[in-house]
């Protein structure tokens, strides 16, 4: 059983997870074993470092936003006995990891559309998409060229889903209040297709992932677990051991955005 404390701004989301992991998590009444940090609030890296310095075994950063390299360096240095897990909105969805065993057979056209409400943080949305690509395919684009728009952004580049075969990549951050937020990914090569629709982590609505070839569709299993709960389970697995993998991934993603 790990005791939990959280930034007030994300306490409701954390409460939902604590209720869903009653044998593993409980709210702390004093010193907490694990801290949930609001990644959308300024200074999240410093607060995570402070929690580690205070003796936390784990920190979970909910919806991380771009952060300066120096702040990441300081956080990294503080994690001598603390694990850090990044709780991405889309990349942490349990279905995303299922794609790691999928292999493209050649190049194709890859479109990732993040539907977000008007006024959303474009940098955060783009970071989420790049993090999803990394979690799903184990790769990030070498270069992204960004085009800011009145209601969103487009980012273009290439992503090698397999060695030696780059797909054309279009990332669309489309802001509208007409449709609910979701990440929609389509990839079409010469003989395969991939379609994924990933929903925000506030519910356990399962992502829909379909792989298509000439014979038909393969639908990946629906996993009725929210991305938040999946992230907490990862943290509990790692908790107490220094683990910097998520921060290394964040550095890779941020390097693409800059």
């Amino acid at each position: 059983m790990a005791s939990v404390s959280a930034d007030a701004s994300i306490a409701p989301a954390v409460a939902s997870v604590v209720a869903g992991l009653p044998l593993s998590l409980a709210w702390s009444t004093g010193h907490a074993d694990v801290y949930a940090i609001d990644g959308a609030a300024p200074g999240w890296a410093a607060r995570a470092a402070a929690a580690a310095a205070a003796g936390a075994r784990g920190v979970l950063v909910v919806h991380p936003t771009p952060v300066a390299a120096a702040e990441l360096d300081a956080l990294d240095a503080s994690l001598t006995h603390t694990c850090a897990v990044l709780d991405w909105a889309y990349a942490a969805d349990p279905a995303t990891a299922l794609l790691r065993t999928w292999r493209a057979t050649g190049p194709g056209v890859l479109e990732c559309t993040s539907y977000a409400p008007l006024g959303a943080d474009v940098d955060r949305e783009l970071l989420e998409v790049v993090a999803w690509l990394l979690r799903a395919f184990g790769r990030t684009p070498a270069v992204l060229t960004r085009h800011r728009l009145l209601h969103g952004e487009r980012a273009v580049g290439r992503l090698a889903l397999i060695d030696g075969a780059e797909s054309a990549l279009l990332i669309r951050i489309v802001m509208t209040d007409a449709v609910p937020p979701a990440l929609v990914v389509t990839w079409a090569g010469a003989t395969q297709r991939l379609n994924a629709r990933v929903f925000p982590p506030d519910t356990a609505r399962p992502a829909r992932v379909t792989l298509t070839d000439a014979k038909g569709d393969t639908t990946l299993p629906a996993v009725y677990e929210s991305a938040h709960r999946t992230s907490w389970k990862r943290l509990l697995t790692f908790s107490g051991r220094p683990a910097h993998g998520d921060l290394a991934d964040l550095r890779r993603c941020l390097a693409v955005l800059r």
Partner: protein
């Protein structure tokens, strides 16, 4: 009154699209003459419908039984054949897309239709598809569209042609090596003027001016990506030839508070209309299902024009403006591929 139809070109489009469509339309039309450069193809296709066959364009245009000429030949000869049909004094011309391959040629067609009064309809089936007609009405009040996307992921043409007819004389599908900027530029011109052009009139409806092509990309064997901008509206054209069983031909429009998605069936098939959905914060409205498709719409329009039931000069003007838009976009995309910079 049944209108006599003469075909110039008896290849895939005539065999798989127009003959089955005309059969469904019953007594509106009767095919009376079929021309093709291959005499065997012309004779066989003509025999299916009890028509005369020839290898000469003039035989069709001089046939007093021909009221409507269908130009289904290679695009490079569209202009000359449309001009000749108009000057021959037929009642109407249905020209397969693209109407022409250069703006100058399109303007020649504009001039000849103005001089002769012969109506010309372009076989841009999506502009006649009931799904688009419904969507255009539903979106009439939208004023702040900021994203327009056309995605065409489609299987080999042969699959859909074989689903529509028993085929004779199929031409090979073009192959593109995309290893040089010049090759990519040629590929993008081809894709925009032969495939994406189906949706460009729809795109132009929401993004009437394209200021610049921001980015282009192409991947072998047949994938493309074009990102353009007109004012605050992005235009995205993507797609690929894809051998999976599932096509994906979608047209999407997004505004601050409304979203349109139209799903079209593949080319060649006779599967009824596309389907369309408009979503706002209050819910989603779906288009009622329709069994007729854009191909039927094209022919019904040319019938109205040929009979004088409808006399709308905007058909030709809109077609020329659509072509101007497509050619400009194709050239800007090609320039982007060649130089890496906006044209």
């Amino acid at each position: 009154m049944t209108l006599g139809v003469g075909f110039l070109g008896a290849g895939p489009v005539t065999q798989a699209i127009h003959l089955p469509t005309l059969a469904r339309l019953g007594p509106l039309f009767r095919v009376v003459h079929v021309m093709d450069v291959d005499p065997a193809v012309a004779a066989e296709v003509a025999s299916r419908v009890g028509a005369r066959s020839t290898t000469r364009v003039g035989d069709v245009l001089e046939d007093p039984g021909v009221d409507v000429v269908a130009v289904c030949s290679p695009p490079r000869v569209h202009t000359a054949q449309v001009e000749a049909a108009c000057r021959a004094g037929v009642r109407g011309v249905l020209c397969e897309k693209p109407l022409a391959t250069t703006i100058a040629d399109a303007e020649r067609i504009e001039a000849v239709t103005a001089a002769t009064g012969v109506p010309v309809v372009v076989g841009a089936m999506h502009t006649f598809d009931p799904a688009w007609r419904w969507a255009r009405t539903e979106t009439m009040s939208w004023g702040d569209v900021h994203a327009v996307r056309s995605r065409i992921v489609n299987g080999p043409n042969a699959r859909f042609e074989d689903a529509a007819t028993e085929f004779l004389g199929r031409p090979p599908f073009p192959r593109f090596d995309l290893d040089t900027p010049e090759a990519v530029a040629a590929f993008l011109r081809h894709v925009i003027l032969t495939l994406a052009i189906h949706d460009l009139p729809l795109v132009r409806h929401f993004a009437p001016i394209v200021d610049e092509v921001i980015h282009v990309d192409a991947v072998e064997p047949f994938g493309w990506l074009v990102l353009a901008r007109g004012g605050d509206t992005t235009v995205e054209l993507t797609g690929s030839k894809n051998a999976t069983w599932k096509p994906d031909w979608t047209f999407e429009v997004v505004s601050a508070d409304a979203h349109l998605l139209v799903e079209f069936p593949p080319s060649y098939v006779h599967a009824g209309a596309g389907v369309a959905a408009v979503t706002t914060r209050t819910g989603t409205r779906l288009m009622p299902p329709e069994d007729h498709n854009g191909y039927e719409g094209e022919w019904r329009r040319i019938a109205e024009l040929a009979r004088g039931v409808r006399t709308d000069p905007r058909d030709v003007q809109a077609a020329v403006d659509d072509l101007r838009y497509a050619v400009d976009l194709a050239e800007a995309a090609a320039a982007r591929a060649l130089t890496g910079r906006a044209a």
